[in-house]
């Protein structure tokens, strides 16, 4: 569905983590995979993310806990969040690797806290709201990019995938808020946000290509 960096795509039929050397996998490529998971629940994109990150998470978690079972729990819980909450990733805020690291950091914190069995102890998302739906609410993040003129949007937005085009039409042409679009189309606010973000990214590419 998305055309993200096709030249960087490498065939990886094998599940061995070392079959892909890290140089082939750029942050942009990983961000594209996250975008596909957020937009279309792409199992293929998620499998690729999983094969890249799970062995790294396991290595990290084993060093942290020194216990294989707890380490596997951390891998599974982290990647489960990536699967369900990919729409909360924002490339403007950092790389996919950093985002997933902060999710793992939070899960590790909560695992250690649970061992202390004090219900009132502060939780990781009170300290670092990595997976909070409200966190990406800063509207300026989605305010129209000064470098994209409305004129340009109208001439290129027809090239966007349908789902993104509809959102862009509502927001930038009809001037609706993301919440209004969410209500009107009956899709979650997070999805509206990720579609907007991906569409703007795509438009930026289209516009630069034509300059």
């Amino acid at each position: 569905m998305m055309q993200v960096m096709p030249e960087k795509r490498v065939n990886r039929h094998h599940m061995k983590s070392n079959s892909a050397s890290p140089q082939e996998i750029t942050p942009e490529y990983l961000a594209g995979l996250l975008g596909e998971v957020a937009l279309s629940r792409s199992r293929r994109a998620f499998s690729e993310l999983f094969k890249h990150f799970a062995p790294r998470l396991q290595s990290f978690a084993t060093r942290q806990f020194g216990n294989e079972q707890t380490a596997m729990d951390l891998v599974q819980e982290t990647m489960t969040n990536v699967w369900h909450k990919a729409h909360l990733f924002s490339p403007d805020k950092g790389s996919p690797t950093t985002w997933i690291f902060t999710i793992a950091r939070n899960i590790r914190f909560d695992i250690l806290r649970k061992n202390k069995k004090n219900q009132n102890d502060i939780s990781a998302d009170e300290l670092w709201p990595v997976l909070s739906e409200e966190m990406s609410d800063s509207d300026d993040e989605f305010a129209i990019d000064q470098t994209i003129l409305l004129q340009e949007i109208t001439s290129y937005y027809s090239q966007l995938p349908d789902a993104q085009r509809v959102v862009i039409e509502h927001i930038y042409i009809e001037g609706k808020s993301q919440q209004e679009v969410s209500d009107e189309l009956g899709i979650p606010l997070g999805t509206v946000k990720s579609r907007t973000r991906l569409a703007l990214q795509k438009l930026r590419e289209l516009i630069t290509d034509h300059d």
Partner: protein, 220 residues
């Protein structure tokens, strides 16, 4: 302009999740107020994540596929109802805006109580064994001279306070080690701070020693 910042070691521990939780709230609040440290925090996150994920374990193919299937067939986690957050705090009729890191834990804020010397405090219970305090000093207030058995961190949320060493304004983060004596006071301006202590205060001036029972009540 913020003059005093947490050092790099504190920021690294904050990002790793290894800092004392109560101190992490103070550091996080400083980061909310300080663009310089916000950028440093990002750099540290990038650095640590590259380091953490530098090595990969050879994952057993079968268990990998099993986990992958389990994840993709798992149901989405229930949407949590966001708990009520107070974006402001009111003390002595004055209202102060709370930075996001403090607003997120605002339900943990206890009642304000007055302590001698135009000083008010409200505890913020972070976990079973640590709390931090919001300390409000009216204009012309002073906290008796004291030393610490170990460390104290103070973040100025609003206003100015003065001690023997310097003047501290909005956003300044002051970290004092053991054996460091000081007596904070305000001048014409009032001051709201967030204070973390990892051991009870010991007051050193004669008058305050008489008040010592109150010291444990003051900064618990």
């Amino acid at each position: 302009m913020i003059k005093f910042h947490p050092n790099e070691e504190l920021l690294v521990q904050y990002v790793q999740g290894n800092l004392d939780s109560a101190l992490a709230v103070v550091v996080g609040t400083h980061i909310d107020m300080c663009q310089h440290c916000a950028q440093q925090k990002k750099d540290i996150e990038d650095h640590l994540s590259a380091k953490a994920f530098g090595a990969a374990t050879d994952f057993n193919e079968l268990s990998m596929q099993t986990m992958l299937d389990e994840i993709m067939n798992s149901s989405a986690p229930a949407i949590e109802v966001p708990h009520k957050v107070n974006k402001h705090v009111v003390v002595e009729g004055k209202q102060f805006r709370l930075p996001p890191s403090l607003a997120r834990v605002s339900k943990r804020l206890g009642e304000w109580s007055k302590v001698p010397g135009s000083v008010w405090r409200a505890p913020l219970q972070i976990d079973n064994d640590s709390a931090i305090n919001l300390i409000y000093m009216g204009a012309g207030a002073s906290v008796p001279e004291h030393t610490h058995r170990s460390q104290e961190a103070t973040l100025v949320l609003n206003g100015t306070f003065i001690d023997e060493h310097d003047r501290y304004h909005d956003g300044d983060f002051v970290f004092l080690n053991a054996d460091h004596r000081h007596s904070p006071q305000t001048a014409e301006e009032d001051c709201l701070t967030l204070a973390w202590l990892d051991a009870p205060l010991q007051f050193t001036s004669g008058m305050a020693r008489l008040l010592n029972p109150f010291s444990s009540l003051f900064f618990k």
